[in-house]
Amino acid sequence: MEYVSDFAIETWGLTKKFGQVQALNDLDLKVPRHSIFGFLGPNGAGKTTTMKILLGLTEPTSGRGEIFGHDIVSESLAIRERIGYLPQHPRFIEYMTARENLIFTANFYFRGPQAKIFERCDEMLELVGLTGKADRPIKGFSGGEKQRLGIALAQINDPDLLILDEPASSLDPIGRQAVLDIMAGLRERSTIFYSTHILDDVQRVSDTVAILNQGKVVASGPIGQILNGKDGLVYQVGVKGPTERLRERLNELSWVKNTTVKKQKDSNLWQISVSDEAAAETKLLRHILDDRRLTVTEFSRKEYELEEAFMNIVKGDSDGHQS
């Protein structure tokens, strides 16, 4: 019976030690189906190790995981039938052309007929824009072309899950954009689980992310949620006038969680963390302006850049580990 779950990947307490080095520490991960899931983390956080465990290339020290309901250790072959994988540095059979590499890869998944396999390879070459170079030796390919070929190879079996390790990290902006466009185009067909440290790319294509630090997931969820940072929703209000009582008045509101103030030239910039978006949008400004001595010079919801959120989360977690 076909396994049906909301998640393509689920892990519970996945741990990996290399000697004394703890590469993964009690990793719990849930990757929703048909998501483009960005797996973020600083170098050495354990991203590649996680991917290798999911692919059956290395075994966890403890914990377990499932992909489409199959155990990642005991049912690895069944999992690999449904996965496409692009390693960080894609490798090819150098003496084969791009088309031959695709045919070779397709033969791991399909029995035939051969004409249909060739057709499938042509489709993939078209998908990644390499039709014109299909019969050229791989040696002459640029980095971007190799990366696109790598994606075509990963996609040849029409996988339910694509695992991409740093798919755009070594590319120039045009190459990166091409790869991101391909990934976005595959969203309908597959779940995409990819690691990266290019936060701009994540913000452009991902809908869900997990941030890994020191082998542990320190934040996970829809990207909007991550962008809100650990303080949640924050409104920025520029206020002029006597504000001695403002903090006290704001704290009277049950949905205000926290307030901070930054002194500016002519006014104070208040950052007000709230738990209720609707209440904040309708009542916060009115509540401040109830004090007729105050003037509001700006009012906006704070938009975090992913980089800022990432730095906050990772730094906060690292500080926590040290203290």
């Binding site: 690999r80 996965i83 249909k116």
Partner: protein, 276 residues
């Protein structure tokens, strides 16, 4: 899957899943590139050339220097034949063993270092298929390019010099010994490729065994009976139709086959547990 492709998917979870495809790839690495004919020319030229020197150049030189072995053999032609088959089977067996080590030292190491192995094993492939496809494809190359083709030329040269067909049974017997010796070093190289991730220790151990084995056995004679180190001499005796002393034929042959089987087993077990 994501879309319904009009293709028949492979679903069997066979013990050798992916073997046929990997074996095709390994064969193509040799037979689909110029490697095979370059090596065919090299090995046939080298071994065949050496035999020709023994058949036609050495005898008159030996006769001119009054070498008693020429007369003892029954003349220059007989001396040449004796030297030709001896050099081919003794030196050739050792040369092929070294060739096997050098040519196949990177059959696993290279792909591991480049990350290709990791990529291949992320496909629905049984790990033993990976190891066995490499073994089978390289064995094919050893048999065809390093042994059969040079042997064909050698047999032809020996027969032409003899004026009649060189005894085929004895020649094939000698070749059989050469094959056993080559398989020993091939499986050893394969196993070392699964145990080490770089070439120096692999080459050191394998070449040390091939070149230093006899030296070691000269101190510990029983080693000759449980290793392939006596096989070049045995190959020459068998091919020359000469009697092989008791205990010199079967013990090293059987031991070499057992060692080869053990090497394959270790390679499979080690590779199955290797983390990438």
């Amino acid at each position: 899957m994501g879309t319904s492709l009009d293709l028949e998917r492979i679903k069997e979870r066979k013990a050798l899943r992916g073997f046929a495809n990997l074996f095709r790839k390994e064969k193509q690495a040799w037979w689909g590139t110029r490697r095979w004919w370059i090596n065919a020319l090299l090995w046939s030229g080298m071994l065949g050339g050496l035999v020709l020197v023994m058949l036609y150049i050495l005898p008159p030189l030996a006769a001119a220097t009054g070498d008693p072995n020429v007369a003892e053999a029954g003349g220059q032609a007989a001396f040449g034949l004796l030297m030709g088959q001896q050099v081919y089977f003794e030196l050739g067996t050792l040369a092929v063993a070294i060739g096997v080590i050098v040519l196949f030292q990177d059959m696993i190491v290279n792909e591991r270092q480049s990350g290709l192995t990791e990529w291949l094993l992320a496909k629905p492939v049984a790990r033993r298929s990976y190891v066995l496809s490499k073994l089978c494809a390289s064995l094919l190359v050893v048999l065809a390019v390093l042994i059969a083709l040079p042997a064909l030329f050698t047999y032809m040269f020996l027969s032409v010099r003899a004026g009649s067909f060189f005894p085929p049974g004895a020649f094939l017997g000698g070749l059989g010994v050469m094959v056993v010796n080559s398989v020993f070093y091939l499986t050893m190289t394969l196993m070392l490729g699964t145990l080490f991730t770089s070439r120096p220790p692999l080459l050191g151990i394998a070449l040390g065994a091939a070149l230093g084995g006899n030296l070691l056995a000269s101190f510990i004679e029983p080693l000759l009976y449980v290793t392939p180190w006596m096989l070049p001499k045995v190959a020459s005796l068998v091919a020359g139709g000469q009697p092989v002393p008791d205990g010199m034929l079967w013990p090293p042959l059987i031991a070499s086959v057992l060692w080869s089987s053990l090497f394959i087993l270790i390679a499979l077990m080690k590779f199955e547990r290797t983390e990438f």
